[in-house]
């Protein structure tokens, strides 16, 4: 691997080398390297591009890395990855896509990930997106995450757009059955003229289901972000969506909450706060010796940490 490939893998998947255990690395629209284990099987799809990942029941404390890297312009990648997590398993899945585009041609990755969680399983899904390279070509990422959660399953999704992505549309749909627990932590940074749209659509179908969506975004310069979330409660359930945004420069953020209670025992809450960095926060950090720019950077770094 060359330096660009290594840097991308390090930043999106914390990989310093080819990982041990189950993994699948995709580069420039093609499979690069893949490995299955006795407990986690990765099978290439036959009808379209992508893979099926099968985690056997009762697998504990294992991880799967499936990073995607694009190292040039003119690539338009569409990939379908389906995860089947066996009952009682506990796994961490590290995905993400990094685009290094130093050309004047656009590059785009559309990753459609579908998760089928068996009963009682616990999944942590870490997804990072990054765009780098000084070319005029755009770096476009449109991740789709579909999650079906059987009884008592838990899915924690940490999704981060680190910067440099020209435009993104992030779509997450989830269906939760009895006592399933979904936690989504989203962090997005946009600068220059970038745009980022996020759409959450969560259906709490089973009794005792819960969802907690925490979205933190920073929009700088002339960038634009759009946040839309719809949470439907169809049984006794709990849903909480918090969208916090910081604006810097001429940036804009739209936030649209939608909560639909279809059961008298459903409790759904949405909170949103968007604005510039509070003056009192800057003042406080300046009393600690930071100048205004350093204070602003520390606040944003903490906010997106």
């Amino acid at each position: 691997m060359d330096k660009i490939e290594k840097d991308l893998l390090l930043q999106i998947a914390d990989l310093h080398k080819i990982p041990e255990g189950a993994f699948n690395i995709r580069e420039n629209g093609k499979p690069l390297k893949s490995n299955s284990t006795a407990e986690i099987e990765i099978v290439p799809k036959k009808d379209k591009s992508g893979i099926d990942i099968y985690v056997k029941p009762n697998v504990k404390n294992k991880s799967v890395h499936i990073p995607v890297i694009i190292t040039t312009g003119g690539i338009k990648d569409l990939v379908y990855n389906d995860f089947y997590i066996g009952e009682n398993s506990e796994v961490t899945i590290v995905a993400g896509c990094g685009i290094h585009n130093a050309t004047n041609l656009n590059s785009e990755h559309n990753g459609i990930h579908s998760f089928h969680l068996g009963k009682n399983c616990v999944v942590t899904y870490i997804e990072k997106h990054l765009g780098v390279g000084n070319g005029m070509g755009e770096k476009v990422l449109n991740p789709v995450t579909n999650i079906v959660m059987e009884k008592n399953s838990t899915f924690t999704m940490e999704t981060t757009q680190l910067g440099g992505v020209s435009s993104s549309v992030r779509t997450t749909k989830a269906k939760l059955f009895d006592n399933a627990k979904l936690v989504i932590k989203e962090k997005i940074l946009t600068t220059k003229n970038q745009t980022a749209k996020t759409k959450f659509d969560v259906n709490l179908i089973g009794k005792g289901g819960s969802v907690d969506v925490i979205s933190r975004s920073v929009a700088k310069d002339n960038s634009y972000q759009n946040f839309y979330s719809a949470v439907k409660g169809k049984a006794e359930c709990f849903g909480h969506v918090a969208c916090d945004g910081i604006l810097v420069g001429n940036a804009r953020i739209d936030s649209t909450p939608k909560i639909v209670c279809e059961n008298v025992e459903a409790t759904l809450v949405h909170e949103a706060a968007i604005g510039k960095i509070a003056g009192e926060q800057l003042t406080k950090l300046m009393t600690l010796g930071l100048n205004e720019e350093e204070a602003e950077n520390l606040i944003i770094k903490g906010f997106l940490k």
Binding site: R216, D244, A278, E280, Q281, T283, K284, L285, M286, T287, L288, G289, L290, N291, E292, A295, L298, I299, K301, G302, F303, L304, K305
Partner: protein
């Protein structure tokens, strides 16, 4: 020495501070008291540079600091503890201590200062400074961060706010330690217990300086002359 010379501050047509001159010496605890709206907080915010005075000058060790920004005054050694601690989503106690403390070991440093304010460091170092902490916890952390700065001038704006009565000894010990370190300690306060450990007391009333001097001289006067005016028993009871 920190010197305030003829400080006045006007907000529109309203006089908030009227020609205040004071000297603060190293190794002394100075309590500034007075009823609500008398200008106490404005005065200490002017020292920190959070508010700029309309007239007058501020000198630290003989150097005029009028034109210095907040962070520049901080670097000269002035620290400020806010009456209402500021919340930050995402930033932890450890983040702030790492930012300010001149140490290779911010965790140990954080432990030292958090324990001085009665908090168990391992429970708090990685906590975010947001609404998940109670007002009292935030206040103690605010105090710990101030201590970690090791400033030569330490300003406390109503440090007792949010501190329960059982923690008062810990709070007054902090001020006594700063005195031992030969710091200038300036405390805006309504609390008799804090007034009693001060070396000097400054009294503001209606934007004016009405008394300033050694505790032994000012405190009895306060109790007799100003007690009713300044809030009576509720304030000094």
């Amino acid at each position: 020495m920190l010197e305030l010379k003829n400080i006045s501050y006007y907000a529109g047509n309203k006089t908030i501070l009227d020609n205040i001159s004071l000297n603060f010496d190293y190794g002394k605890i100075v309590a500034i008291t007075g009823h609500n709206g008398s200008g106490k907080s404005t005065l200490v915010k002017i020292i920190m540079g959070i508010i700029n005075q309309t007239q007058g000058n501020i000198l630290l060790d003989g150097k005029n600091i009028d034109k210095l920004k907040i962070n520049e005054r901080s670097k000269l050694g002035i620290g400020f503890t806010f009456q209402q601690p500021i919340k930050f989503k995402g930033l932890t106690v450890s983040d702030l201590i790492s930012t300010i403390a001149k140490t290779d070991n911010p965790v140990k440093c954080g432990c030292d200062y958090l324990s001085k304010v009665g908090l168990c460091a391992k429970d708090y170092l990685l906590r975010e400074l947001d609404s998940n902490l109670s007002g009292g916890e935030l206040k103690r952390i605010e105090l710990a961060i101030n201590l970690a700065e090791n400033k030569k001038v330490n300003i406390f704006d109503e440090p007792e706010a949010g501190i329960d009565i059982w923690s008062f000894d810990g709070l007054t010990n902090i001020f006594k330690d700063l005195k031992k370190k030969n710091c200038i300690t300036i405390i805006v306060t309504h609390q008799q217990k804090i007034l009693e450990i001060a070396d000097e007391i400054v009294v503001l009333n209606n934007s004016k300086l009405v008394a300033a001097g050694p505790k032994n001289k000012v405190l009895p006067t306060l109790k007799n002359e100003f007690c009713e005016k300044l809030g009576g028993e509720a304030m000094y009871g």
